[in-house]
Amino acid sequence: MIWANVAIQGMLLGGLYALFATGLALVFGVMRMVNLAHGDLGILAAFVALFIIQSFGLPLLWASIVTIIIMFLVGYVLQRGLLNRTLGVDDTRPIVVTFGLSIIIQNALIMKFSADSQGLDAGKIENISVKITNQLSIGWFPLIVFVIAIAVIAALQFFLARAKLGRAFRATSDDREAAELMGINNKHIYSLAMAIALAIVAVAGILLAIRTTFDPTQGSFRLIYAFEAVIMGGMGSMWGTLLGGIVLGMSQTIGTQAFGAGWGLVVGHLVFLTVLAVRPSGFFAKTVTA
C-alpha cells in the first residue's frame, strides 16, 4: 500500500511538472522557439505574487489572479518587443537571448528579494488530506494542483482545436508565410502564444510556491523538468506533456522510496534518458500542435 501511496503522490506531482511544461510546449509548437527563461519566468511569477501580497495585503487568490494577468501582459510585450526580433535568422539567436534573459531574471530577483527561500501561504488547505484507507491518504492541495493542470491543458487543447484564434495558431505553426497570406499577423500570434504560455507558467509558479519553498535560482531546475516532460510526451502534444510530467513525477517519488532521499531526481533523469533512447520522438509524437 505504501507503493500505491508513493505512486499517487508522484502522479499528482507530475501535474505540476506538466503545468510548468505546457507553456514551453506551446511556444515551441507555434513558433519553433526554445525559451530557456521559461522556468525563471515561472519563479518570477511566484515573486510577483509574493510582492503583491506583502506590499498591498491582497489575499492569495486575488494576488494570483493579478499576477497571472501581469504575466500575460509581460509575455505579450516580451515577445512583441524583443523575442520576435530574434526569430527567423537562425535557431541559435532565441536560445542565446532567452539564456541571457534567464540570467537577468535570476540576478534581478536575488538583488530585490535576496537568495533566501520564500513561501506562499495558502492556509490550512495545504495540510488537510482525504483518507482513502488507513495507509492511503491524498493531500487536498496536490489533488487540486493536479485538477488545475488537467483543466488548463484541456482548455488550451480546446482553444487550439476549436477557437478561430486557435486555428490561426495551428496555421501559423504549419506555415508562417501561408498564414500571413490568410490575413494572419504572425507577430501578433507569436506574442499571444507567449502571453498564454506565461499566464500558464504563472499558475505553475504560484502553485509551486504554495507547495514548497522557492528561491531565485529554482527556475533552472524547473526548466529541466519541463523539458523532460515535453520531450517524453512528444513535442507539440499537450496531453503528451501531461503524461510526460506524470511519468517524471512518479519516477522521482518511486525512486526516492526505493533508494532513499536524493535518488529520486537521479531515477527521474534516468527514466527520461531511457525514454529518449527507446522512443526519441516521445509518447505522442506529432510534428505540429494539436
Binding site: D174, E180, L181, M182, G183, I184, T287, T289
Partner: protein, 233 residues
C-alpha cells in the same frame, strides 16, 4: 475600365541579387493578365511583391491608385489581394474545412463561403474532414485556390497553379478561372506552361531575367515572338 493594379519601376532584391528590374505595368478591372517565362525569370517574385511578402527596394505598387508599399501581406489580404502561392502551401495539419475557414480570417465581405467554394470545386465535398496533408496534388491545388477565394479577393494572384498536375485537373482549374473572371475577379496568373494560359489570358507579358521581354494581347503575338522572348533568343 478602371486600373486595379499598377506597378511603377519596381526593383526587387534578394540580398545582393536583383530579381526584378524596373518592372512597370497596369492591370484593368476584370482582366486576366498572364505572366509567362522560364524558371528564375522573376515571375514568382513579382506576385510575392504584389502580395506584400517581398518589398521593392525602389518603385511602387499601387492598388486602385493608392501606394500599398507600407502594408504587410496580412493587411493586403484585407484590402482584397489574395495570392495562391507556388507549391500550393495548404496547412497540412488542418482539415480541408479548416483550411477553407481560415481563408476567411480577414473577415472581408463577399459572396464566397465554404458552400460556394465547394460548388466551384465539387471534388472537395467528400474531403471536408480529411487532413489537407492526405490530399493529392490536384485536390490540394483546388483547396489552395478555394482558400484564397474565401478571403473574397478583388485581385487574385495565381502562381504556377498547373505545375505537376494531371491534364484533366489543369483543365478543371482553367475552367474555374473563366468562371471567376465572369464573376468580376481580376486575375494575375503566372505559368511556365504557355499553351493553357494563352487560352484564358486577355494580356500576356513574358518575363526574362527580371525584365518584361515581350507583352501584348495573345492574338497579336506570334508563337515565334513568344518563343524568342521566352528563351531570350
Amino acid at each position: 475600365m478602371s486600373v486595379v493594379l499598377e506597378l511603377k519601376d519596381v526593383d526587387v532584391f534578394y540580398g545582393d541579387f536583383q530579381a526584378l528590374f524596373k518592372v512597370s505595368f497596369e492591370v484593368e478591372e476584370g482582366m486576366t493578365f498572364a505572366f509567362i517565362g522560364a524558371n528564375g525569370g522573376g515571375k514568382s517574385t513579382l506576385l510575392r511583391t504584389i502580395a506584400g511578402l517581398q518589398r521593392p527596394r525602389s518603385g511602387h505598387v499601387l492598388f486602385h491608385g493608392e501606394p500599398v508599399d507600407q502594408f504587410s501581406a496580412h493587411k493586403r489580404v484585407g484590402m482584397g489581394i489574395a495570392l495562391v502561392p507556388e507549391g500550393r502551401r495548404v496547412f497540412p495539419s488542418l482539415t480541408v474545412r479548416e483550411n477553407l475557414i481560415i481563408g476567411a480570417y480577414g473577415g472581408r465581405k463577399g459572396d464566397w463561403n465554404v458552400e460556394s467554394v465547394v460548388e466551384l470545386f465539387p471534388l472537395l465535398r467528400p474531403l471536408m474532414k480529411r487532413q489537407a496533408s492526405s490530399l493529392s496534388g490536384g485536390e490540394q491545388q483546388a483547396l489552395a485556390i478555394g482558400r484564397a477565394l474565401m478571403s473574397n479577393p478583388e485581385l487574385l494572384l495565381l502562381d504556377e497553379v498547373s505545375l505537376g498536375l494531371a491534364p484533366v485537373v489543369i483543365k478543371r482549374i482553367y475552367e474555374a478561372m473563366v468562371l471567376l473572371v465572369g464573376s468580376g475577379h481580376t486575375i494575375l496568373v503566372v505559368e511556365q506552361d504557355v499553351q493553357h494560359v494563352l487560352t484564358v489570358a486577355d494580356y500576356v507579358a513574358c518575363f526574362l531575367e527580371g525584365k518584361i521581354s515581350l507583352e501584348g494581347k495573345p492574338g497579336d503575338l506570334s508563337s515565334e515572338a513568344i518563343t524568342a522572348a521566352y528563351f531570350g533568343m
